[in-house]
Subunit: 324 residues, 6 copies
């Protein structure tokens, strides 16, 4: 009780109804000073890397709105993140809808500031290209990261539209090239969909990434996939990136590049819970595109995944701080 | 042929197209006199107990509309409910959107009248608080009931908003306190979602309720869950309460408190079919909120669950009447 | 320039894109201390007085989201509200979805506190019953108010559902009975729709209210209606209450009791602009029900009306403060 | 009190909330025996004549649902239809989605029966082809009818798809050919939209129909259009046919052949009110297609037009019965 | 490379963005001359056989639009259909919304022409009745066909609405009667839903069709179902007919007769992939009804099934041509 | 008959139903060779200049789909464009969602090619920034253009987000700076909405543009506005640019920057018809954003405006060709 009392606490739905008041992530206070928190939830309202259906720029607001459904304690693991770490909403990263290059630059610098302040970031996209400048921003002092990557797509294509290197289909090729990611510690779960060329996913395999297609996923089962993921990323610092299009589009229709035939939210939750104990240094949930699901159902799924990751991050932070 | 000829029969979709004519439950005749039926389908268009997203007050109408998709005979069990019992639409219970207390009172009295007339009620909510006055209304002559309860939430919280005891999050705590339910004969299936406090579901457990979380549900599998449910409720009089938020929200997005990661409609159907032979005295399907799913898909799921329960009730009635 | 520099300023869409960051009213800072502002925008997320389609409880959040479209200076009047007065988002009033009486009480007390702090309130409903406790809260030190009331309904019915006195169809009858409103200084604009009884609007007329039906509205034209409204409310303290169902439902489909055949948003804007110079003490925009218009179009109309009223209030405040 | 007491009365929204109970037209009782009423509201759930977007078969149900918003007395004319005539919901006409010819036959015979029973029909479509069999059904004992026809289209094309004579684009050519309509007593209001051939509307003009294009409509203004309509149809028996696509699609998007640039609902209401005193023998509102407007807004507009026509018919009936 | 170079190739999403240009099936060229292709994708925009919710007439356009998401190579089987066979969009079959009989005739003649030109047709419905005239059109030179039939309904009812023999509930009874189908080589997968009469599916069984209900489907599992399907259809010429209502409506809500409790798209994909090597002579995906799912999600599922079938057909064609 | 026979003709809705076949603009043939047409309809599926809600990249496809509602002859002016000029769908301009600069370059070059081939372009956006590269592309041999500009916004801001010069809020400032537009021959109709700075529209005025705010528009009336527009642009070569956000959002909700209080589609049609006889050299309809209006209603409005402009262009072309 003692310590948690000092940490920011979310508004409870039994006190202020869930639909009440300004929407912040998880109903936590909004801080402009990053030093106020240990785990900072950050919106990155930008979809300039989107090659197909746009709208992920509106994701952070809708996810904030739907995060009002979250409560305080994880019902399976018992993790109480707000007792374990100082958490808060840090607002949005600066972006520029009129310039891809400037946006990448602004996002990177923003995360570099958060990183310098000691913040472990949990981001809400935005399209998947945002993960690249986030990783650039938090690289200082860290070795190339491992990554547990939930997605229908490998996002390791090289270029689009005649040589253009930055889209939401390319971030992890760039990240490997830049030494941000250690490909041998990357596992991708749920990859599927028809191919442009027969060797679309070959580059990733060549680098040593572990690509678990959706077919292999269903054949292995959740428990084995968790084991495999833990084996791949090992004990080093690791990032969790959750693209909602890894889920079947029935659960997350509000996204830019839906591919039918994915996993269920329950299965995704189980996989995330299976990542307890990893040395997690950040995470994100991306590709929630509200214009393609005004109902908010996709955002609810997305923000529940944020909640699962938050619990993991809080435990990791508490451990690093020696609190548990 | 003899007996069934005397019972009310639904309009057939091969005669009057499914979109034709005034919408009643299952396309049965509408009766204002409860003595006309043995099983009465009743709407309770009230959502005054809703703590989050309202709209379940519009549920009965949309469920009547979508019930037009139902036919006459169960394709697995072969049960032909309209041959087994006199069934009909009894219209809606009286409610008062301007007063929670008055609504509870009106609903209870209405069901007391139906109960006195010998009606076995199958209700369409409305939010889950309606189950409380329904149980109050049918208590006469019955011991505390067993209940098979499908839901994402235990609905046994104590109070909200500073001591208020009546919301859709509290009905079964009240029902146990009032002796309407025998907690040792209550099984809850699908419970999940983050918690306000670590002991949110403890009260239910302390009373002896059998809480099957969604995690245990998936681990056990449908068949074992059915066995467990039958074991818990035993041979005594039992009520079936189906909150559509027990299902994954992909199947039932039109509801007030969606929690991702639930079971599928097919699984729910299997579980309901597994309840054949129990001494069922009533049932309800609640929390269909049309404003959050104008398409009617949620209502179709809800009313198909009503159909499953109707088959169970018809068999129970026929048995009690000595017809089978 | 001097003074305005000290006043809170909204985030500009040319700096932070409109979809960026936490959504507050007009992109202004959020204050919890009412003394920080002169004009406070307040959400009242409550629809417990709704007799038909609920959902207005979700109005304040969606209006905050859409208020991101507003800029800083009125394009016709040239009013720059944030230079004239200290404006801010004051969050939501406390409400209780489980109790009508408690909600009326909480809202009244909250506004009494704001009033005591000198705040001129501009509220976002919520259903129209909220105007009653708002008026109770700000009554101290004020004579019975005049009111310019935009609506399809007179909202002066007496009781519903067998004697219940508090619904969104009754607030102004109660307000007159309680001496909050001076009926002779009330003008209602846009009244229409079939009647329960031939004398539905007679009580209002008997009290001396000026009821401008939609038919008279169209016959008079906007300019004459403005004149008449100004004549009726005169120089005394006056409140502006804007129910979005006064507009034609094509413009504001997301509302609880739509009546076809209303005015256009442009006409409403003209009428509001025609109220410059009145001694305004508060205002509200009510009955935006997001579940019936997920697109946000209704909320955009509603919040643009808030913007128009804000400009009026800012000028009134600046005048009372001797700034202009 | 005397006479009206004997007539069927609608359920009041102040007693049973508007969302309550089985949905019938205007919340009136449902009668299967046509002799029970003088004015019968009838659904014709059929869209087999639709050449473009289907769905009007679902119109009657959605209009019944939205008719719950109607009250008892006309707020401008003061007409109280349920005091003037025996009104009721007569259910739906029989139709056959699998056969155009059989449907025309079934509908005609059904209306012939109603007509023989003395019922004045007010129908809810269905697509506009339904007006043809309705007119065939009520022809007995009547001279060729006059018609006030609200529509974007003249519906007097000859054939479609290579010689097919029955679609929702042809009913009034057929009706003139069959002597059901007196073309010299037909006025069409709101005609517009690009043409297949330069003489698309020439046939109608050649027969002597008065075609008021939307351009002429706006030039004349509502009052002059009313005068012209009254002049054309004169004192003889007249039918009112209201296709919701005469309205601008912003007000009635749920329709099969939207043409932008129509009149407003308020203007339509004024025109309908301008038809008081004509010798009206029936009416319909057609082309409400719910799948293209799940929100019900189009149906609300449609059913309010039914309400306006109902008031006219009730007055006409009462006059013929010598009650007024 | 040689031959494939000569075959029509789809536009790549990495060159022209997926949302770009006129929408054709799979972004292939549009041909009006059937001799230009070996596999022709054909729309049949007709829903005149629909007994409930219409709209499948709009299916081909929406499926063309969503097919823009498809790429060139199957990610599991490695099949590259555009290298194996000449594929193209052949536009739509002629239909007549005003006449069921004429439509059946036009469709049959159109397919007879395609068949005579050597085209293997892959069709996009339209409702399921279209499969009957397609089979009539391609019967020349073929023995009665085998069929793998994915559906919630057997579609072997006899008549509707008093003896009418042609609806989307009857095509396969007619096809057997006409010798188009060999019932002993027909397998139906996913049959479910309440019954009109206890023996609804008896006729199919009596003819020797293999009906795998959804219950049996789940009990057997995908692999066994594939084995069984292959066993039933054997080595003879076989047609694949995929009704999207075989899927659970959460995945395919835009359809005319949804039945809850179906399989997932991933499972359907696995089943289709399990049909490799069969002697396939055509296929279709039917009952996508865009008005009931404007989002396009259902069409995306449908067109991905078309992609799966296309890969099967291309391999079959290549084998028959001796290319592989 | 002679000449028109040689020109491409659209498919007629009385022959092939409107929902049939591949969707092209106005159901005209698709040409890849620009020399095949005199007036080319071109999609520009790009929204990289959008500062707020994206999605206009999907505009051309949805407008093609809805253009199926258009017929062949203008019902007021009698213009038969396909008899006056060779018209066709030229597909889409090349764009690059991953690069603003590259997109501007590609679009310009594409239009330069069309221009060199003698094509008069009628474009479907895309966001309003596309008009800049279009004007660049067609500048060769033309003096600075006049422009009739329908819009809620002047689109003459200077920079966004810290000095970025290219967004959909800046095209006409750039066009004046580059000598593409003669500001003294530019008229803007419908300008409104709150301002960032008091002098937001001052630059336009300083250049000599004629800015007709929505307030002045309503005060003048349509006829006077037409006169004024004709006076401003005079006899020189003129471009028509129609941003659908000039309309009230009730008519065109699917757009990126809605501003309430605009004109109606009928009024816009009247204004466009008032431009007959001008020396028109091109036109566009922009800012239709399908994700914000999946129903297609906005696209229908947009494409009907394209139809109106097409009639104007066809007459201008025919006059220049000496055909009339």
């Amino acid at each position: 009780m003692s310590k948690s009392q000092e940490f920011p606490q979310p508004v409870a739905g039994t006190v202020v109804p869930r639909f009440g008041d300004v929407a912040t992530f998880m109903r936590l206070p909004l801080f402009r000073d990053p030093t106020a928190v240990e785990i900072g939830m950050v919106g990155v309202p930008w979809d300039g890397g989107t090659t197909n259906r746009p709208g992920a720029r509106h994701g952070p607001r809708q996810m904030r709105d739907l995060s009002t459904m979250m409560r305080r304690i994880h019902h399976v693991t018992g993790i109480a993140p707000y007792e374990l770490a100082r958490c808060g909403d840090l607002g949005d990263a600066p972006v520029n809808p009129a310039s891809l290059d400037d946006s990448l630059d602004r996002i990177e610098k923003h995360y570099a500031k958060l990183h310098a302040a000691g913040v472990v970031p949990l981001s809400a996209g935005g399209d998947h290209l945002i993960t690249l400048p986030i990783m650039r921003g938090i690289r200082k002092g860290l070795p190339p990261l491992g990554m547990v990557h939930f997605d229908a797509h490998s996002d390791t294509w090289d270029t689009y539209f005649g040589g253009f290197k930055y889209t939401h289909g390319t971030p992890f090729r760039r990240a490997v090239e830049e030494g941000l990611l250690d490909p041998k510690r990357v596992v991708q779960i749920g990859i599927r969909g028809s191919l442009y060329k027969a060797d679309d996913n070959q580059w990733a395999l060549d680098q040593g990434m572990r690509v678990i297609t959706i077919e292999e996923y269903f054949d292995l089962g959740v428990e084995k996939v968790i084991e495999e993921a833990r084996r791949v990323v090992g004990a080093g610092p690791t990032y969790v990136s959750f693209d909602v299009d890894g889920l079947d589009p029935a659960y997350a229709p509000g996204t830019g590049t839906p591919e039918i035939g994915g996993y269920t939210p329950h299965e995704a939750q189980r996989m995330l819970r299976g990542l307890r104990g990893l040395d997690l240094v950040g995470g994100d949930v991306v590709e929630v595109s509200p214009p393609f699901d005004m109902s908010g159902n996709t955002a609810l799924v997305g923000v529940t995944m944020m909640w699962e990751i938050l619990c993991l991050l809080a435990e990791a932070v508490a451990k690093r701080k020696g609190r548990i």
